[in-house]
Amino acid sequence: AQTVTQSQPEMSVQEAETVTLSCTYDTSESDYYLFWYKQPPSRQMILVIRQEAYKQQNATENRFSVNFQKAAKSFSLKISDSQLGDAAMYFCAYGSGSARQLTFGSGTQLTVLP
């Protein structure tokens, strides 16, 4: 079974600075996808970014980018120029190419300091 580990329960960053959230996963599959979801205080889950395992190029969405290290099974999220609205719980998720389910990590609570 796949597992997703987020080893940082809490992180903080100064406004306008950069922060990196860590995620590791364990799988024996070769075809899979990885996601970062954001859950603000409203608790609405919002997709931030996704990465296909077969792509070597790291995904980027505006201020959000990932560092995907397939051999190390690592998938970290970098948030540049942090804004107060980035404060949220961030979940890393694994999606198998052969299944219809996602496996979520336990989350990292990000605080943005003004």
């Binding site: 608790r43 609405q44 889950m45 979940f91 999606g95 979520f104 989350g107």
Partner: protein
Amino acid sequence: SQTIHQWPATLVQPVGSPLSLECTVEGTSNPNLYWYRQAAGRGLQLLFYSVGIGQISSEVPQNLSASRPQDRQFILSSKKLLLSDSGFYLCAWSDWGGGMNLYNEQFFGPGTRLTVL
């Protein structure tokens, strides 16, 4: 565009009472549907998922059940609530095998906050 609705938004129920939470999706057909529970400050626990009408898979044995009476409707039920059923319940949908979503990413509803007293 696709939208997903959940209701009610908030619910307070006594122990032993029944439960019915509803989730509907618009703008897509034959979606995969999911029910998750999230305890305060914790991650998401998959409860049920469905790949079609009447097809329900249970991930966690408990006193909850799910049904899918229509293609885009997913219902979470209980005959008798327990204190441990309190939490935040999220419904999600995903596409499979084509369409806009080739990567089985899931789209979430706004959630229902359930408090069992």
